[in-house]
């Protein structure tokens, strides 16, 4: 197949065992990375915001539109059948990717944000009473705060916050105390986008389940960087976005245990999510279609399938090992800079480094780095409460993907030297 043969690591080695990956060759699968920015080679270090796409993904989308485009699930003709099969094939791939029990547990949405909102509106809202509690952590992304605030406002329920220590780790004893008979749901991030912390979610789920409290994991920063097994975790819901996992924008996944999804109200009404419509009465369709009203992002889902194929060809063992190498290298280099402070020093960390400089605000840092060809993020990273917690107005954040290399990090360090030159 053309998508596979255009994948360099496959031609050099069919067995994606550790250390056999040619990372340099693999980088050339990502066309955007070869561009110049401000006359410098681009060092793209904003992967927590969004990842770049391999040619296989870009080609899968174009191929879909050139050859297979039709509406799904309803056509009798072959073209529509082909479109439906490519769309549904991705559902199977996601099922494997997460090791879900059934393909019916995989719902396609726009992104992690919509997935969380769906659970807030269809699962939590009808069930919550005044006084009930939703438990989140102090390191959540706004997408895992605001939907719960909205639903609390409607129902009279309340948010409770699991505190984090100075190293940016969940305080498990406090978490244990906060789990109580009023707690209706725990919603925590698997990996923090602002701090890099990998949370002890397995343990947290066990603790919550002892009190029969269900758990939602926000996997936006985890799914493309760790291997996730929802059955082993036994989480009740898992959410993530394709665009942060080398796939297209406009696609996300809600995984939910079948018994929850079955019991839930539909989220949106429309075509495909119904079984029969009369003005007097409407019957809803079965899973997963009950939650997929209207024409979905077909091309996006097809492209996402290509991204999952790509990821599994690289292999999570390799990805984790390479990204930890990069994290270690970058941490070493950055902490050697005096006047630079890393925010977020959890023992378990993904390849995300937030930092502040004594001499310059993160916004200025980012502007100057941009002129050295280095793309990092500056600001609150949609995690304002984290900024408050660490008493900083904003941070600069470098986040790495497996296609980054030591040269990117060196370029970041050289760029920071310019900041110091200007500001001190």
């Amino acid at each position: 197949m053309s998508l596979i043969s255009s994948f360099p690591i496959m031609s050099s080695s069919c067995n994606p065992a550790q250390n056999t990956i040619d990372w340099t060759a693999l980088r050339s699968d990502f066309p955007l990375l070869s561009q110049q920015a401000h006359n410098k080679q681009l060092a793209y270090l904003d992967n927590a915001a969004t990842t770049q796409k391999p040619n296989a993904v870009i080609e899968a989308i174009a191929h879909y539109y050139r050859v297979d485009n039709a509406n799904v699930h309803r056509g009798v003709y072959e073209l529509s059948e082909r479109a439906t099969q490519s769309y549904e094939a991705t559902r199977n791939k996601v099922q494997n990717f997460l090791n879900a029990w059934s393909r019916e547990e995989i719902i396609f949405v726009r992104g992690a944000t919509e997935a969380i909102n769906l659970v807030a509106q269809s699962y939590a809202r009808p069930a919550l009473k005044p006084g009930d509690e939703i438990l989140i952590s102090a390191m959540e992304h706004h997408s895992n705060i605001v939907p719960w605030q909205m639903v609390c406002k409607k129902t009279g329920a309340q948010l409770a916050i699991i505190p984090i220590n100075d190293s940016a780790e969940i305080m498990l004893e406090r978490y244990q105390q906060l789990l109580n008979e009023k707690t209706r749901l725990v919603a925590v991030t698997h990996v923090s986008n602002a701090l890099g912390s990998i949370n002890p979610v397995q343990q947290m789920i066990t603790m919550a389940h002892e009190k029969e409290i269900p758990v939602l994991l926000d996997g936006a920063q985890a799914a493309a960087h760790l291997s996730v097994d929802v059955q082993a975790l036994d989480c009740d819901f898992y959410t993530f976005s394709s665009h942060k996992a080398y796939g297209p924008t406009g696609v996300g996944v809600l995984y939910g245990k079948k018994r929850h999804l079955d019991a839930m109200e539909p989220y949106q009404g429309g075509g495909d999510m119904i079984s029969s419509v009369r003005f007097e009465h409407t019957e809803y369709n079965s899973l997963p279609y009950k939650f997929e009203a209207g024409t979905p992002n077909i091309a996006g889902v097809v492209g996402f399938g290509a991204a999952l194929d790509y990821l599994s060809a690289v292999g999570f063992d390799n990805i984790v090992q390479r990204e930890q190498q990069l994290l270690d290298y970058a941490t070493l280099k950055l902490q050697a800079i005096s006047g630079l402070h890393i925010i977020g020093r959890a023992k378990n960390k993904a390849s995300i480094i937030s930092f502040v400089l004594d001499c310059a605000h993160s916004h200025d840092i980012s502007t100057i780095l941009d002129h050295q060809g280095v793309a990092i993020r500056a600001g609150h990273h949609c995690a304002m409460p984290v900024m408050e917690r660490f008493n900083v107005p904003a941070t600069a954040r470098a986040s790495m993907a497996f296609y980054n290399n030591e040269a990117d990090i060196d370029q970041l360090v050289r760029g920071l030297a310019q900041v110091f030159k200007l500001f001190s």
């Binding site: 401000h38 916004h363 200025d364 502007t367 609150h380 304002m384 200007l422």
Partner: protein
């Protein structure tokens, strides 16, 4: 270091960014106006003392990048002891400075020292930083004006 960057981060800006002038609370201000940039989290409070349609004192507090701090600091130096109406004209002129490709000589002369912020033109994502204090000024003056109207009616 590249030229555009040097044009943005001129000495004056680095200096005012690091040591903003009139950086304090004002006693009994006529108005105190918050300015907030959700993009980056920059947040400042502008204090104005107005008497007979004239700004007789001004100061600010807050956190932010060099551009927003310097821009506000330089703005306050300039608006002290001028009529409200002139401050409003300055707002317009400053807006032209940072958004127009080539502001007129007249605008540049009028703005004087404030022209050091012209370099921000080449950094579209930073225009909000440069204008944060100015938007607070405009909102503050509008509020002050409407309050005065209310109180004199």
């Amino acid at each position: 270091m590249n030229e555009e960057l040097r044009a943005l981060y001129q000495e004056v800006i680095i200096d005012h960014g690091r040591h903003p002038r009139n950086f304090k609370k004002l006693e009994e201000p006529s108005c105190c106006q918050e300015g907030y940039n959700p993009l980056c989290g920059d947040r400042l409070t502008l204090y104005l003392k107005v008497d007979h349609n004239k700004i007789i004192d001004a100061s600010f507090e807050g956190v932010g990048c060099a551009i927003s701090m310097a821009s506000t600091s330089l703005m306050i130096e300039r608006i002290k002891n001028i009529p409200i109406i002139e401050a409003q004209q300055l707002f317009e002129a400053f807006h032209l400075l940072v958004t127009e490709p080539s502001p007129t000589v007249k605008t540049l002369e009028y703005l004087g020292k404030l022209t050091v912020l012209g370099g921000v033109r080449d950094f579209p994502t930073r225009i909000k930083c440069a204008t944060l204090g100015w938007h607070a000024l405009k909102a503050g003056l509008d509020n002050a004006a409407s309050e005065q109207r209310v109180s004199t009616e």
